[in-house]
């Protein structure tokens, strides 16, 4: 069951809030849509990358001569062919923080830092020859000790990944290098006084494992370098402007020499926000004078592209008898993989931001270990924080004999409250979300034997940022809307609905496209749940500019002032006072006359959108635990979320359902399994077990619309908050079914079985 709770506004909309057939749909059900590795270019070579078999090793030498001699091999490349970027090189905000690290992640330089780290690459006339060539490259390594766990990595005896890295954010400044790149703390109130007030205190340690975004389309690109220095790049990405900047800066190219065209994207979830094979493909193309295609295999995707962080969290929370939470503290270690950059800032922000807790202390550590460099994954840093924070709230509720929704309502942030980071919440829908969950039939449904119910509440602060749009009126009265944001889950439907609503014409007359980097101003990533909010705002602006020009055109035709022309329901309407005999002009009529009367019409908008604001998702899940095997089956799932406004409700529900199921995988199955040498063992979908259709039930959704006052249609964003509470809710349900605490994800059958046996052993 899916439902929408509207606030009463927006009832006059014709297209916004309605389900329509997506514009890219037919191409996607017929196989016509072109994804990353569907691109074929004449004279194309096939690139492949040689990867480290060691978790941590010095590269002593690389001998490529045998590979170069193989017939059909056109180029062999090592880090020597990629410009070095010293630590001192300044960043390129807001896109690039650290070229030193990214260049070394793209191709290892002094050391390999994880199993799968790129060390060399070839371009050959066939995939087959490229594979053969990789086997002919000799790399001499000096194997070093490695570390995989964030807590061990932060310890004093851990093998050090980077001898130049001294922890930032601690006093005094350390005199020894450390795997801890940075410590970020956040606090308010008096933590000791807060705990002194508490009647009940829960203290626990939670751990979660890195999980991969699990997009079904592997990373793929085709680079075509010309002799005049120009480069064209086709790639699957969440943001081609970012890919352009990264490639150009990494390769010391002028950005003007690189044009990036995004393919259809086969899933991203944050994982396609950065470069892997792209700079290598460009260099190989420059070296050979031929286009080079670079496609990662699934095992390369697992070994060498970024998962999200694994975490270790010690957490303590105290409440009074009436359920008022008075103090909370957390010490959290996030592993960043081989290079710094775990989202610890977001951890500090998200830990307790749903609640009005007066006394808070959060300390977070960004720890390097010998795993692939982490990438973003759908609300980066938040689900593992939520897992710990919601876990202790559920235990507090139980100890205080309170309803888990009531304890949350009692402490929920409301409009005007402040987050730990000092943000004052504007209009937020947290209480609406919790109340809808409380009154949902799921909350009152009976549970069967071996079943348990879990609940969790997730918070996420959405992004805004840079978006550019051009809206072009065509002669036939249709409007082409070009955005710079790859459409990852149906955003073209939303862009189209907003433009149609503004213009007052049939939605089928709006033609949304995703334009390349040469055709628009900068647009930031399709990430941070920002696209329908920020890019949607630019679509509205650009369409309004078209309307202004149409009013001016009608005024010219009627020889009256543009002030006397209004735009209503897809036509220019003269003011009654403007004169007799003037009949409204339709968009189609105006479009037909534009080129003859002044010139073509287009509108554009380039903005830095602010005010996306906070969003909340609350989830209820029932699971059934098989006491014989420890296997957990979710049997019922409800997601309630404030989305501001659902422009395309079907696709909003799809985000909520997909986020919940990713959370089920995170909670129950997904993890990386390494051998004692730090080699990844489960590099395929068979062993990295993501949820399949038979693992999950229907996912019920309740869309709450508390419109965001900072967006013309009230959009808040939707993609990320729905994942945030999912692992916590599932884990809580398993705890409830088993009857004991479960603090280490994933709750795979062996762990659950052990818990079941410990409980039944204690009982019998």
């Amino acid at each position: 069951m899916n439902e929408i709770k509207r606030d009463g506004s927006g009832t006059n909309y014709k297209w916004v809030g309605k389900n329509t057939r997506r514009p890219d749909g037919v191409d996607k059900v017929t196989g016509r849509a072109r994804y990353g590795d569907d691109m074929v270019v004449p004279r194309m070579l096939h690139g492949r990358i040689l990867r480290s078999p060691h978790a941590h090793a010095k590269i002593l030498s690389i001998n490529t001569s045998k590979a170069e001699a193989l017939k059909g091999v056109k180029a062999v490349l090592t880090s020597a062919a990629i410009p070095d970027h010293p630590l001192t090189e300044p960043p390129y905000p807001p896109i690039i923080n650290d070229l030193h690290d990214i260049s070394r992640n793209v191709m290892a330089r002094e050391k390999v830092l994880y199993d799968g780290h790129a060390v060399a690459a070839v371009a050959a006339t066939s995939e087959r020859i490229a594979r053969q060539a990789l086997k002919l490259i000799d790399v001499e390594y000096e194997v070093l000790e490695h570390v995989l766990d964030p807590l061990e990595g932060a310890g004093p005896d851990a093998p050090i990944l980077h001898d130049y890295q001294y922890t930032v954010g601690v006093d005094p400044t350390p005199d020894k290098p450390s795997n801890v790149f940075r410590v970020i703390s956040g606090s308010r109130g008096d933590i000791d006084a807060g705990f002194a007030e508490a009647d009940e205190i829960v203290e626990r340690v939670f751990t979660s494992q890195p999980v991969h975004q699990g997009y079904i389309e592997p990373l793929a690109c085709v680079a075509t370098a010309s002799e005049d220095g120009a480069v064209e790049l086709w790639t699957t990405t969440q943001g081609h402007f970012v890919i352009r900047a990264l490639c150009a800066k990494l390769l010391n190219m002028e950005m003007s020499m690189l044009r990036v065209t995004p393919s259809e994207i086969g899933g991203g979830f944050g994982g396609k926000n950065t470069v892997y094979g792209e700079p290598v493909a460009i260099r190989l193309s420059q070296m050979t004078g031929r286009p080079v295609r670079m496609v990662m295999s699934r095992s390369e995707v697992f070994r060498a592209s970024g998962p999200t962080v694994g975490s270790h969290t010690r957490i303590r929370m105290g409440a009074k008898k009436d359920g008022t939470i008075v103090a909370a503290e957390a010490a959290v270690h996030y592993q960043a993989g081989a290079f710094k950059g775990a989202p610890i800032g977001r951890a500090v922000e998200t830990f307790f931001s749903s609640y009005t807790i007066p006394n808070i202390q959060v300390d977070s550590y960004d720890v390097c270990v010998n795993r692939p460099r982490v990438a973003a994954y759908r609300a980066p840093g938040a689900p593992m924080a939520c897992f710990a924070a919601e876990g202790v709230i559920n235990e507090l509720a139980e100890r205080l004999d309170m309803d888990p929704i009531d304890i949350r309502l009692k402490n929920a942030v409301r409009d005007g409250d402040q987050s730990l980071m000092g943000t004052t919440y504007g209009r937020i829908g947290l209480v609406d979300v919790l109340e809808a969950l409380k009154s949902h039939p799921h909350n009152a449904a009976p549970l069967g034997p071996n079943q348990g119910r879990g609940i969790a509440l997730g918070y996420w602060m959405h992004g805004g940022g840079l978006s550019s749009v051009t809206a072009i009126l065509q002669d036939d009265g249709s409007l082409s809307v070009a955005t710079g944001n790859p459409d990852i889950g149906g955003s073209r439907s939303s862009m189209r609905a907003m433009a149609a609503e503004e213009l007052g014409i049939d939605i089928e007359l709006i033609k949304p496209i995703v334009a390349d980097t040469g055709s628009l101003a900068y647009s930031h990533l399709t990430a941070g749940s920002r696209t329908t909010f920020a890019t949607g705002m630019a679509v509205v602006n650009a369409t309004r500019e078209v309307i202004e020009k149409l009013r001016a055109l009608a005024a010219k035709k009627w020889e009256i002032d543009a002030e006397n022309v209004s735009w209503e329901a897809g036509q220019a309407v003269p003011a009654p006072s403007a004169g007799d005999g003037l009949k409204p002009l339709s968009l189609k009529e105006l479009a037909g006359m534009a080129t003859k009367m002044g010139g073509p019409i287009a509108g554009h908008s380039e903005i830095n959108a602010g005010g996306a604001g906070a969003a909340f998702s609350a989830q209820l899940v029932d699971v059934e635990v098989d006491p014989q095997t420890g296997f957990v089956s979710p049997t019922r799932y409800t997601v309630v979320q404030d989305v501001g406004r659902a422009i395309s409700p079907d696709y909003v529900e799809g985000q909520m359902q997909g986020g919940a199921v990713q959370g089920i995988g995170w909670a129950l199955n997904e993890e990386y399994i390494y051998d004692e040498n730090g080699r990844l063992l489960n590099t395929g979908f068979l062993d990295y077990r993501m949820p399949v259709a038979s693992d999950v039930p229907m996912i019920d959704t309740v869309i709450i619309e508390v419109p965001n006052p900072n967006h013309p249609y009230g959009v808040r964003g939707v993609g990320e908050p729905c994942l945030v509470p999912a692992p916590a809710a599932v884990a809580n349900a398993v705890e409830n079914a088993v009857g004991t605490t479960m603090s280490d994800l994933p709750l795979s059958p062996p762990k659950v079985l052990k818990a079941v046996e410990s409980v039944s052993g204690a009982g019998g």
Binding site: G25, V29, G31, R128, I216, G267, L686, M690, A693, V696
Partner: protein, 160 residues
């Protein structure tokens, strides 16, 4: 390595190609035959994105050797619509918003088609198990299952 000359019926057309004995059907479909609707999500038969119909049975094209299809009938997503008319499954996937990124969609459509040929009136559970070899990371499967249920009803002559 010696190449083999193969003749197969692909989407109703007699089709010739030459392949190495170790080349997969997926490589040939996506390469020489330019039928890139079958997607390479894993190459190991775990994701189902390359599902095609081989003599009436759904298979992972990445696990079939190209040389095995000599004389066989192969159907891919490109052959699913009847000219400009979409197959009911394609139509229902659009109506139910059963795709987000869409990269798993061709494989799921083929698997669902094969499922409905064997079982025209499947339950939700039968659909879920029937599609358990096809990974989708975007939708959480909910809308996919509903689309297949609805397509099945329509194909039985009981449009919803």
């Amino acid at each position: 390595m010696k190449k083999h000359a193969i003749t197969a019926t692909v989407n109703g057309d007699e089709t010739d190609f030459i392949c190495y004995p170790d080349q997969t059907l997926l490589e040939v479909l996506r390469g020489d035959l330019e039928l890139s609707g079958a997607k390479n999500g894993c190459g190991t038969g775990d994701c189902g994105a390359c599902t095609v119909i081989f003599n009436g049975r759904p298979v992972n094209a990445c696990l079939v050797l190209a040389a095995e299809v000599n004389g066989a009938e192969i159907e891919t997503v490109e052959g699913m619509a009847n000219g400009a008319e979409l197959h009911p499954l394609q139509q229902k996937f659009l109506d139910h918003a059963a795709l987000q990124c869409g990269v798993c969609t061709p494989g799921i459509l083929n698997m669902a088609k094969a499922l409905l040929e064997k079982n025209p009136d499947p339950t939700e559970t039968e659909i879920r198990f029937g599609l358990a070899g096809n990974l989708c990371r975007c939708t959480g499967y909910d809308k996919i299952v509903r689309a297949v249920l609805d397509a099945a009803a329509e194909m039985r002559g009981n449009p919803s």
